[in-house]
Symmetry: C2
Subunit: 289 residues, 2 copies
């Protein structure tokens, strides 16, 4: 959101996905009382024609009806059953291409995407999974509740901790952060290792003319014949429902757990957003209006 | 050579490919008078059993007889018809996967590998080819003799020169150098661009605990969904002859030109090697003993 909004003029509604209840409708496909999920931005109320596309790319994705998922909260369509869940699913499957028994490292592991990546890796693919996160509390949650094999607090010595956890090296790295931590992980990868670059939160505060510098990656790429690929989940738009279906199935089978950090009140949106970037939330950050 | 030799104990014969004439033989498959090419290291004379493998990986590749190539120099089996030629061929085809009309940037473009990459890109695939090299003399050679579309002296402003040469961006980058120049190229790539990492000469002077830092790559990888892969040519050992055959054919068809920087005398080997790393040679650096 930080990065995308930079492309748009000041004054544009802040980008953001929303689950909203229909309170008035002239369209029989969208009846009053049902909920929709879509990129409606930061607003309490939206008047929208679901077939009209917007001049802003982030608003041009069409809203869709939220299916009935029983006792589960519709807010999951913002997280594990929505874009973050699909990002985790496709990024791991299609970019990391893990094989049973391999070693997976996930950075930003306690976030909305990272926490799902690690669990799919562990409980679906049978990988050894190491999470990197920003507090002991998050690390405890990853290991004790989500079943990660190890979790490393990046404020401690990641290089030494990683070498101790997986001395034989790393096959797959799901990268949400970029920067120095990623260089450390990449220099411990095995031959033919794969890196999926999903985000680069370590640089979101920098403007494009003053990006940070980190240890160069090319030597490790040559000697270990590594592969790295960046991706945006929209690449798999035509398979989006596959991810939602699988993630829902895995929730029901007890393979995936999730957590939401819920902030109440529209006026607290900004603080919730900045707090998320500062690492204060666990799992998906949701604002309840 | 700089990097591989670090793995071996002091006193080991320096690694290096050699074309040598057989002056004595007990093996009818290797008759006196014929030439062989192999990783014989820095020596004037070698006693070798072609079927015995060495304790050192770089010596364990078996030497092979040099075929008759008429008027062409057998030293080409050290360059365009040998490992550098195969590196250029497979790296471009299999990692960059270029499509006609795309834009290719090659760093280390006047070297043994880079000069072949650019020519295959230009004259076989019909790409727009930009070479990055270390002197105006090299740049002139790339454009005027090899047919590159543009050449940039990296001691000048690469960022501005690249933007001017290919304002619409870059599809493929064949990287021989790593470091800051590579970061500049990568930030000018188009969506779904591909980077083949062949070498990292900018870091060969650093030991592994003090590698240089450069602008981080992850933001460009996410936003443009780029792919980067490191490779070593031995990956295609079973297809090696395909590369030699194609490169020889393209020489005969006038599509590939080559240059050798020849130093005479075994005692000048060290100076020739250091001079090559300092950018003093053009094309393949060959020592004639």
């Amino acid at each position: 959101m930080r990065v995308y909004i930079q492309r748009y003029p000041v004054g544009v509604t802040m980008i953001g996905a929303q689950v909203a209840k229909i309170i008035e409708s002239k369209n029989p496909d969208f009846p009053v009382g049902r909920r929709i999920v879509g990129y409606l931005g930061w607003r309490t109320h939206t008047i929208i024609n679901p077939h009209r596309s917007s001049e802003y790319e982030f608003l041009s994705q069409k809203p869709t009806l939220v299916p009935d998922i029983g006792d589960l909260s519709p807010s999951l369509y913002l997280g594990i059953l929505g874009m973050p869940g699909a990002t985790a699913y496709f990024g791991l499957l299609e970019i990391c291409k893990p094989k049973q028994g391999e070693v997976l490292v996930v950075s930003g592991a306690a976030g909305a995407v990272g926490s799902i990546v690690g669990q799919i890796g562990k409980h679906v693919f049978g990988l050894t999974v190491i999470g990197i996160a920003g507090s002991d509390e998050k690390c405890k949650w990853l290991v004790e509740e989500l079943g990660f094999d190890h979790a490393i607090n990046y404020k401690k010595d990641v290089e030494v901790a990683l070498r101790k956890a997986v001395p034989k090296g790393i096959d797959c790295y799901f990268d949400n952060v970029g920067g120095d931590i990623s260089s450390i992980v990449i220099y411990q990868m095995k031959p033919f290792g794969r890196v999926a670059v999903c985000g680069s939160i370590s640089s979101y505060n920098a403007d494009s003319s003053s990006l940070p510098k980190s240890t160069i990656l090319q030597p490790s790429f040559v000697f270990n014949q590594l592969k790295m690929e960046g991706f945006v989940v929209t690449r798999w738009d035509n398979r989006f429902s596959e991810a939602t279906k699988k993630n829902l199935q895995w929730i029901h089978e007890g393979k995936l757990r999730y957590r939401e950090t819920i902030t109440k009140g529209f006026d607290n949106m900004f603080d919730a957003f900045v707090g998320m970037l500062q690492g204060k939330s666990i799992g998906k950050a949701v604002v309840k209006v």
